[in-house]
């Protein structure tokens, strides 16, 4: 008898289901029981006054897809009973960030302007996961249109809370996804990463988050933010589950011409082969942060917290003890990642957001208007929250003809310099020929709710160490590597050359195996205390 299947790794659930030792329906029962225990009210519009009980729940979801989940589970159980081969993700419960279209489900992007939109088709990556017999259990809350690093900008309240400390944010924009996985509300969640939106919340919530190489996973059915930066990626409780999910999602899609034709490698074949002989870099440029002081316009440069730096160094020592060589390198353009991102992402966002106009789909103002222009202005003012509006205004400003050279073209050139930092240190270069670069995922641990929200610049700097990978298009993974003194998760990031997913999984798995008996690994998020067997 398995008491809480929702707490087992996804790949173990598939094994049990295929051996008929556990039914897919029992897994779904367990997951929805967990959601009922810990999640509380799903996010909804105009929910302004949070109760005390609301503040003690996770609120990872905007909507649950119970009918879809049970139908899929019954289909899988029937298939196995009938002696047919089930898919490689048979019975694994997954949630999907509410920025992906899933046919027949409400797909809101966390915005009032899409609050009643029902998806007419399913995103390619979700379609591939369901074809592999993964079970979609619901849609998770997020920052509005993914614009944020804390989930607080969602129009759907209560916004998600961090299972490790319910008065702190889970990160963002895939914060609902990371919180759900950390709380046992599904084994895997599919997020999207434009500046760190998979890796940063994974780090804040003590789980694994993977951003693949740009073009490795289709963006078809992902509501676009920064089209040259967006990458769908999995969040999971362990490295093997992330590898299985990415293996399933990866590949060419004729509906997204930016997906590359090169076939994905087998991420699982050598995942446990260790790191002997690998060359892993660390850089002082990722141990200092540049941020705007609260209450002033001045930028300050300071070292990151000692405990985060020590966690990265400790992870590096662990890999060194397993036979990897640790090499110090310079990454001089790291600090320009956020300024360049402020320009590029805003230009792309402003362009992408023009489709939301109250004509073709979504919300239209109920106020009176005299003509089309007035309808546009009222609909967009009432339908968008402050973060989309800020992005539209900034995007239009920096791409205006008279400023484009100073801002947009300069940012795209800076993007080349950030990419060249990586090309000069990775394999096949004349430099240190690294297999991967190890960095902190975030400059801080999860911050308290309401502490940063409203300051759009300070919030953006939460992505300082993750955004370079989006500029460069390279893959990256955040893995849990310890707890702070205040018992909050600290994540370590591994970045690799284009299409080095297999190597990153291998390094991450080596670290996971080597630290499996560390005391921090047995800690439980307080939100699920007493619920695990």
């Amino acid at each position: 008898m398995i008491n809480h299947p929702c707490d087992l790794p996804g790949h173990k659930l598939t094994r049990l289901v295929k051996r008929k030792e556990l039914s897919a329906v029992a897994i779904v029962d367990s997951v929805f029981a967990r959601i009922k225990s810990v999640d509380g009210e799903p996010g909804k519009l105009d929910y302004l006054n949070l109760t005390r009980e609301d503040k003690e729940k996770v609120h990872a979801f905007i909507s649950l897809t119970e009918d879809r989940a049970y139908q899929a589970a019954e289909r899988i159980d029937k298939k196995i009973e009938g002696g047919k081969e089930a898919g490689p993700m048979a019975g694994i419960p997954i949630s999907v960030k509410d920025i992906f279209l899933v046919k027949g489900t409400r797909t809101t992007a966390g915005s009032r302007i899409l609050s009643s939109f029902v998806a007419p088709y399913t995103a390619t990556c979700v379609e591939m996961l369901e074809a592999a017999d993964a079970i979609v259990i619901g849609k998770t809350n997020l920052d509005e249109f993914t614009f944020g690093s804390s989930c607080e900008s969602s129009a759907f309240k209560p916004t998600p809370r961090n299972p490790w400390s319910l008065d702190r944010v889970p990160g963002g924009s895939s914060g609902g996804s990371a919180a759900a996985v950390a709380a046992g509300e599904g084994s895997i969640s599919i997020g999207s990463d434009t500046a760190g939106s998979v890796r940063q919340p994974a780090s804040f919530c003590g789980v694994v988050g993977f951003k693949p190489t740009y073009g490795r996973v289709s963006r078809h059915g992902l509501i676009a933010f920064g089209s040259s930066l967006d990458c769908p990626g999995p969040i999971s409780n362990n490295v093997i589950d992330a590898a299985i999910a990415l293996q399933t999602m990866a590949g060419k899609d004729s509906r997204d011409p930016t997906t590359i034709t090169q076939k994905p490698e087998d991420y699982l074949a050598q995942i446990s082969d260790g790191v002997e002989g690998m060359r892993i870099g660390i850089s002082e440029d990722y141990f200092r942060i540049i941020y705007k002081s609260p209450g002033s316009n001045k930028l300050r440069q300071e070292p990151i917290s000692k405990e985060i730096k020590a966690t990265v160094e400790n992870a590096a020592r662990t890999l060194e003890s397993l036979g990897a060589k640790i090499i110090e390198v310079n990454m001089p353009h790291t600090r320009y990642g956020i300024p360049a991102y402020f320009v590029i992402s805003r230009v792309e966002a402003a362009s992408n957001l023009h489709r939301f106009d109250g004509v073709k789909y979504g919300f239209r103002t109920e106020d009176s208007y005299i003509d089309l222009n007035e309808m546009y202005s009222k609909t967009r003012a009432q339908g968008f929250g402050s973060q989309p509006i800020l992005r539209i205004l900034m995007g239009m400003y920096v791409s205006a003809a008279q400023y484009s050279e100073d801002y947009y073209r300069k940012a795209l050139k800076l993007r080349s310099l950030i990419r060249s930092d990586f090309e000069e240190v990775f394999k096949d270069s004349s430099g240190p020929q690294l297999d991967a670069l190890m960095t902190p995922t975030n400059p801080t641990v999860a911050f308290p709710i309401n502490e940063v929200y409203g300051d759009s610049v300070l919030m953006q700097y939460a992505d300082q160490f993750t955004v370079p990978a989006n500029h460069a298009g390279i893959p990256g993974i955040s893995i849990p590597a310890g707890l702070s003194e205040s018992k909050l998760p600290i994540g370590v990031q591994l970045l690799g050359p284009d299409f080095s997913e297999e190597t990153l999984f291998r390094i991450a798995r080596a670290h996971e195996i080597a630290t499996q008996n560390d005391p921090w690994r047995s800690a439980t998020p307080p939100a699920v205390e007493g619920l695990r067997s």
Partner: protein
């Protein structure tokens, strides 16, 4: 505001102006970098697309979409399967 097609109250405009100015301060950090030259290439996607990894363009063939009914059903206003828009503003041609 006209190009952005967003109506703002005065109070909202003050908040957005403040945030935009702070963001511009951060953006101007780009001015500190000296290596950017006129010959520095731009990067648009990070990874390099080559003939080895890029998809050929699809043939331009019309296909009947199975989504049409579902999409039409969600439009704010339709008439005989056409989108209805509010009237266009009248402007004198110069």
């Amino acid at each position: 505001m006209e190009f952005a097609a967003i109506e703002l109250t005065e109070e909202e405009a003050i908040y957005f102006l403040k945030q935009l100015n702070i963001q511009l301060t951060a953006i101007h950090e780009m001015d500190l970098i000296t290596e950017i030259e006129t010959t520095t290439p731009i990067t648009t996607h990070g990874i390099r697309y080559t003939t080895m990894n890029t998809q050929f363009l699809r043939e331009d063939v019309a296909k009947v979409s199975s989504y049409a009914d579902s999409i039409l059903a969600q439009m704010p206003e339709t008439k005989s399967r056409y989108v209805v828009t509010p009237s266009l503003p009248l402007r004198e041609l110069e």
